[in-house]
């Protein structure tokens, strides 16, 4: 089986569900890693690893979705529920700009009152004040929630947000793109087809997006492979995904609880993502959930990007996971792994070789 898979990869043929399952379940970690590393070398022959200087701004933690894997959300009545004002958001972006950052990753809960006008006004003012910042914000679940609250179709909502300044859409909220899993871990969240519809429409509007996967909760290995196939199908149609970002469920303070996926499982899923998504250019390592050591090793298992330096991160931290890295640490770690390092923007254009 492994030889047949290696031959298909060499011939650039897509793998089947059964072949994906074989790699995930049966094959040795280093074997899967080598296949992934080969694809990474083909797609990124310069041996360069990139990162973006960014900040996560979570405008609110009030969320109607209340996913069982999430430790960040609050009800509107909770004593520590919050909604940031425009001025508070601008102050955070000002710090990002002073730090040399280029990407604003603004995401929040599904707030019961915030309609499209609140975001339009916010994005216009952000663009006017900080024209150099790329607004990489609002996951598909938020887009659909805002559309519903505002009496718009998803398509109309995306067009208006884009016109107001939304540059690209982060791939969060994908979790696992299998509705049986979603029913169990996030019963109030959009189904996988709605997630896909937002992404496809964003791509049609010329926006680039990323695709994520949160694994290690209640999904089966077959669900993981299904997720990858669904992302690959969308990419075949649109070509709009810049990167795939797998990361692991963090159980602390969540309703689901339990254990987090192990290091071997993370690296295997990351490698499988690199192998099955050979139509997506970039694979991000998740130091924020894995720590620096595993993120560095991931560069030899198919990853070519370290994601953001994250001046601020709240969601994963709420689930008891608090790895931090400075830009200097990211640079050292990449070099120490034997790669060239460069700062990029949200579109993966190189800004500076370091």
């Amino acid at each position: 089986m492994l030889t047949a898979i290696a031959d298909k990869i060499a011939a650039r043929q897509p793998l089947t569900h059964a072949e994906g399952c074989y790699l995930l379940q049966e094959a040795d970690l280093l074997q899967v890693g080598k296949l992934a590393d080969g694809i990474r070398r083909r797609l990124h022959p310069a041996g360069r690893v990139t990162f973006v200087v960014d900040r996560n701004v979570n405008y609110t933690n009030v969320c109607e979705s209340q996913c069982r894997f999430c430790a960040f959300y609050r009800t509107a009545e909770a004593p520590d529920a919050y909604l940031l004002s425009y001025e508070q958001i601008f102050a955070k972006i000002q710090e990002l700009v002073e730090y040399g950052g280029t990407q604003l990753l603004m995401q929040g809960g599904l707030h019961p009152d915030l309609k499209v006008e609140w975001f339009e006004e916010l994005f216009r003012q952000v663009k006017a004040r900080f024209p150099q910042v790329q607004v990489h914000s609002l996951s598909p679940a938020e887009v659909i929630h805002i559309a519903r609250l505002s009496g718009l179709t998803m398509e109309e909502c995306l067009v208006r947000l884009q016109a107001a300044g939304l540059d690209s859409v982060p791939g969060g909220g994908a979790e696992v793109l299998v509705d049986e899993v979603r029913q169990e871990i996030s019963p109030n969240k959009i189904g996988w087809r709605e997630w896909a519809a937002v992404m496809e429409h964003a791509h049609r509007l010329g926006m680039r997006t990323t695709a994520t996967m949160m694994f290690g909760s209640r999904e089966t290995p077959a669900d993981i492979v299904e997720h990858l196939l669904r992302v690959r199908d969308i990419q075949q149609r649109t070509g709009g995904f810049t990167a795939f970002i797998p990361w692991t469920f963090q159980p602390a303070n969540t309703e689901l609880g339990g254990e987090t996926a192990t290091g071997v499982e993370y690296l295997k899923v990351l490698s499988l993502g690199r192998i099955m998504l050979d139509n997506i250019a970039n694979i991000q390592a998740s130091w924020v959930t894995q720590g620096a050591g595993i993120a560095q090793a991931a560069l030899h298992f198919g990853a070519n990007d370290m994601g953001g330096t994250m001046l601020e991160e709240n969601v994963v931290a709420a689930a008891g996971c608090s790895f931090r890295m400075s830009q200097e640490e990211v640079v050292n770690l990449v070099r120490d792994a034997g790669f060239r390092v460069a700062k990029r923007n949200t579109k993966y254009e190189i800004l500076e070789e370091l």
């Binding site: 074989y22 970690l29 280093l30 192990t262 071997v264 298992f301």
Partner: protein
């Protein structure tokens, strides 16, 4: 570079040793997965798919130490805040908890206390052995053995014999740090020399006691220093056969006094474990000490030639004083999960690597 890996694969398959120059070439390579494959091959031939662990407890009887090694965040001076020395009843209480929890081993090391007489250690061992005869007593670094000889006026051989008579059954292998004198003079100037560490360890083995060997890496040393360290261990093992496991310890930089030392990266840690597996062909076991490596890397290292995940530990002080972010203990269930998720067969062992129980592998299906 492809030639190097082909040559080394042939050597491993033909049970030939790799040279220092070849070990250095591996260290200087960034082909992490190719290095890992060689180490996995070497381990497969020695240990198959089995991964060992044990149920143990660490007890540090004192943190008061006349040596003040720059890499250490655990040691205190006698009058310093936070200094502690356990009395024998406290040690017995901790051992009792361990025995009740199913432990098979007590792992004990401590500082070089300025006032405790040698008889204290003999009494401690005897009391433990008498109260909990089922617990294997693995204790003392070669540094402590040397110190006991100095404070008692006995020879090394006599010290070892008396400790053995009192109940000592093996040694954990600490205090080796980096054996090279140049590094030691900056890292731990008051500690015994590398040569002395090897002499004491040789006497331990000659007395019929097994030990492990450690290497503290990721501070001031070069790759050449590490390979020199491995070389001397391989040589002593040829003479005595007394080493069980080699344990590379990832330096933890917090609260220590080595300017600029950051500790090894994940890549360096995996390379070091893998290269030691390839180089130390006469060591049966390579242990990933998850306390220092972090649990995720320790588990991943099972694909890089490692066949031992250490134990439950229960109360770890030395690595955590230096900023280790791992938990202080792991449950047996968690160790089993980590080994199974790595696709290996978990085997609970005793201190001498006799299998106590072999567990089923993970059987999830797609």
């Amino acid at each position: 570079m492809a030639d190097l890996f082909t040559e080394l694969r042939d050597k491993i398959e033909n049970r030939q040793r790799i040279t220092d120059a070849e070990a250095l070439a591996l260290y200087e390579s960034n082909e992490l997965l190719a290095i890992g494959e060689l180490a996995a091959l070497a381990n497969e031939r020695l240990n198959g798919a089995r991964v060992f662990f044990n149920v143990n407890r660490h007890i540090n009887y004192t943190n008061v130490c006349v040596n003040q090694c720059t890499f250490c965040a655990f040691c205190r001076k006698e009058e310093q805040a936070g200094a502690f020395t356990l009395v024998i009843d406290e040690i017995l209480a901790k051992a009792g908890e361990a025995a009740a929890a199913g432990a098979t081993e007590i792992h004990m090391v401590g500082g070089l206390h300025p006032d405790l007489p040698f008889s204290f250690y003999l009494e401690m061992l005897a009391a433990l052995k008498k109260t909990y005869p089922v617990l294997h007593l693995k204790a003392f670094t070669a540094v402590e053995i040397d110190y006991f000889a100095r404070i008692s006026g006995l020879s090394i051989v006599e010290v070892i014999q008396q400790l053995k008579d009192a109940g000592l059954e093996s040694l954990p292998g600490g205090g080796a740090e980096i054996l090279n004198a140049g590094v030691r003079s900056r890292l731990c100037p008051e500690k015994i020399s590398g040569e002395r560490w090897l002499e004491v360890t040789e006497q331990v083995h000659r007395a019929g006691l097994k030990s492990n060997a450690t290497m503290l890496f990721g501070h001031l040393e070069t790759y050449v220093d590490r390979i020199d360290h491995l070389s001397r261990l391989r040589q002593l093992q040829d003479d005595t056969g007394g080493f069980q496991a080699f344990i590379p310890l990832a330096f933890q930089p917090d609260n220590t006094r080595i300017p600029g030392a950051r500790g090894p990266s994940g890549m360096d840690a995996l390379k070091t474990l893998a290269i030691s597996r390839i180089y130390l062909d006469n060591f049966q076991h390579i242990k990933a000490y998850w306390i220092m490596l972090g649990l995720k890397l320790a588990q991943v290292s099972l694909a890089f030639g490692v066949n031992d995940l250490d134990g439950t530990v229960v109360e770890e002080k030395i690595g955590h004083e230096a900023g280790a972010s791992s938990p202080q203990t792991l449950s047996k269930d968690e160790i089993l999960r980590q080994i199974r998720k790595a696709g290996r067969i978990p085997v609970e062992r005793d201190t001498l690597y006799r299998p106590l129980r072999t567990f089923a592998m993970d059987s999830a299906s797609c």
